[in-house]
């Protein structure tokens, strides 16, 4: 039976208030809470549900990142993934390189479906799924809010600016997830214990024969411009008056 590959990324937790380093070399990530990119968590949940529905027989979770990414992969295993692959790499890579790495894993694993988040909430690029689909020469459905699998065809509803759009894809294919696709399950303690025994294999870019490409050079990182402090009004009358005074009404 068939396999689903889920690509996840270790990112700064979505509740953390990001601060830019004073020297402009990046954002502060030391001692900051990390987690699975929320959109990828939704991707994993969808894969697990497809497996529970009998559409797939195995869920393999894969990631590229530093050694600490094992924590997030263990969480993914605790959620229910069957095994994990970590392509260990200490530095941030560009999405095209990530897609090339995932293509190697796809060639190795031959999944029916690859599911990943529509974007990572750290660099907000939103490219990896589409790039993988292109390199793999397979269909893509981005921003999914509903996924149905029927034999070798997927019907995917996507959240687009105009509303909802439905596509039909020949499998294998790549799906990227939006927030309303599902609500990821919480992991329970016994599962965390069980996950420790599940297989987690580590690879390197070198072993996969991939060199990280670098097209974009970050010269500096700056905080967004600060807004001028606003005013508090005491009632609706003052609100309307202030709006008129500002020329907003």
């Amino acid at each position: 039976m068939s396999k689903i590959l889920v690509c996840i990324k270790r990112v700064v937790d979505y509740n953390v208030r990001i601060r830019v380093k004073p020297d402009g070399s990046g954002v502060i990530t030391d001692n900051v809470k990390m987690g699975i990119n929320p959109f990828d968590e939704i991707a994993l949940e969808e894969a697990l549900r497809l497996k529970e529905r009998g559409v797939a027989s195995e869920v393999v979770v894969v990631s590229i990142g530093p050694a600490e990414t094992q924590q997030q992969l263990r969480t993914a295993l605790a959620m229910g993934a069957d095994r994990a692959l970590l392509v260990e790499h200490a530095y941030a890579i560009e999405p095209l390189t990530a897609a090339r790495v995932f293509l190697k894993l796809v060639e190795k694993e031959a999944p029916l479906l690859v599911i990943t988040g529509k974007q990572a909430i750290d660099d907000d690029n939103g490219q990896t799924g589409q790039m993988l689909a292109a390199l793999w020469d397979r269909p893509q459905a981005c921003f999914a809010s509903k996924v149905e699998i029927n034999g070798n065809i997927a019907k995917v509803t996507r959240e687009v600016d105009a509303g909802l759009e439905t596509l039909e894809l020949d499998l294998p294919a790549v799906i990227t997830t939006d927030l309303r696709l599902n609500e990821p399950r919480y992991v329970k303690l016994p599962e965390i214990m069980k996950a420790k025994k599940k297989p987690l294999e580590t690879l390197t870019l070198d072993a996969l024969g991939i060199t990280a490409s670098k097209q974009f050079n970050v010269t500096k990182v700056t905080p967004p411009p600060v807004k001028q402090k606003g005013v508090m009004v005491k009632d609706v009358t003052e609100l309307v008056a202030t709006l008129k005074q500002m020329g907003s009404l």
Binding site: Y14, R17, I18, V20, V27, E94, P95, L96, A99, K118, I121, D122, D123, D124, N125, G126, Q127, T128, Q130, M131, L132, A134, L135, Q140, C142, K155, R158, E159, V160, D161, A162, G163, L164, E165, T166, L167, E168, L169, D178, L179, R180, K214, Q215, F216, N217, V218, V221, P224, K227, G230, V231, M232, V233, D235, V236, T237, L239, V240, L243, L249
Partner: protein, 313 residues
């Protein structure tokens, strides 16, 4: 000389203003010549695109496969058109975000997402961490530069142009593995959220779809579009295409009124470029007040009717 191709977003023969804004961004590239590519089933959208000020030529590709735009199908055609250009831009709407990375990978190059400032032909600024930091990027000039344009950062070009329309034939074979089935849009009366000059948004505090009508009423009175927080959409009070924020729409109205919205980072991402932000919330500690130009603490269920009365309705 930089040659820039902007991929037009269009629907039913009408070019979306996201295209006008992407052209405006492209025109900021030094020493640039800007063309617009229209992939469609007929000529209507190309004729509209020819009016965009500053555009030299409209590259018109008409094929039945483009009756409905499907990224997997169109990407090889765009990759082929890209051969004659140094840069390829598309709006950072769900249209551009979907197709452009696919085009980039077919060309074997990277892509920049959401460029907000142009500092040179290969020098840009874009947001990361939901806009909480800005990265300044120098791209390798030896490589073709593909980028999506953060449309809230640019003013649309006018429709005073007169570009020539060139017909292009594509030799790439277009895949049939991805097929359009249907599109459904909630019937949103009133102005379009992404281009409206005024927006009234409601949050979880509204409590029901019925109560959300208060937001619609105020919006109607102000000639504003309606927006919503994720919590309001998830709870079913408002349609999903009304969501404002990191995973919804990034908007830049002159006036934004947030009602019963706490002001989570992900929501604020969507409204950073609003000129005037008004917040109505019963919790004086709500983070929305940190970004609001005008804040009013109180219960929305008493304040909104009062506001409507004072506005004369």
């Amino acid at each position: 000389m930089n040659k820039i191709l902007v991929i037009a977003e269009h629907m039913a023969g009408v070019v979306n203003t996201s295209t006008h804004k992407s052209v405006a961004c492209a025109l900021l590239i030094p020493d640039a010549e800007v063309d617009v590519a229209v992939l469609a089933a007929d000529d209507k959208a190309a004729m509209h695109a020819a009016k965009l000020a500053g555009v030299k030529s409209v590259i018109n590709v008409t094929r039945n496969e483009f009756t409905e735009f499907v990224a997997s199908t169109a990407a090889p055609a765009i990759a082929e058109l890209a051969a004659n250009y140094t840069h390829v831009f598309a709006p950072s709407t769900t249209f551009g975000k979907d197709v452009l990375p696919r085009v980039a990978a077919l060309l074997g190059v990277g892509q920049l997402s959401d460029i907000m400032i142009v500092n040179g032909s290969h020098s840009f600024v874009r947001p990361i961490y939901a806009g909480n930091a800005l990265v300044h990027i120098d791209a390798d000039p030896a490589k073709k530069l593909l980028a999506t344009v953060r449309i809230a950062s640019f003013q649309p070009v006018t429709e005073t142009g007169d570009a020539t329309i060139e017909t292009a034939n594509i030799t790439a074979s277009l895949p049939t593995h991805t097929r359009f089935v249907e599109r459904s849009s909630a019937d949103n009366a009133g102005p379009d959220l992404q281009s409206a000059t005024r927006v009234v948004s409601g949050g979880r505090a509204l409590g029901s779809a019925e109560n959300f009508q208060l937001i619609y009423k105020l919006a109607k009175q102000l000639g504003a579009a309606v927006g919503a927080s994720r919590a309001a959409v998830d709870a079913g009070y408002a349609a999903n295409d009304l969501q404002v924020g990191q995973t919804g729409k990034i908007i830049a109205p002159d006036l934004y009124i947030a009602v019963g919205i706490s002001g989570a980072i992900q929501h604020l991402t969507g409204i950073k470029d609003a000129r005037t932000i008004v917040a109505i919330n019963k919790d004086s500690e709500a983070p929305i007040f940190e970004v609001a130009d005008i804040g009013l603490v109180g219960d929305l269920f008493t304040l909104l009717p009062e506001l409507q009365k004072q506005l004369g309705g």
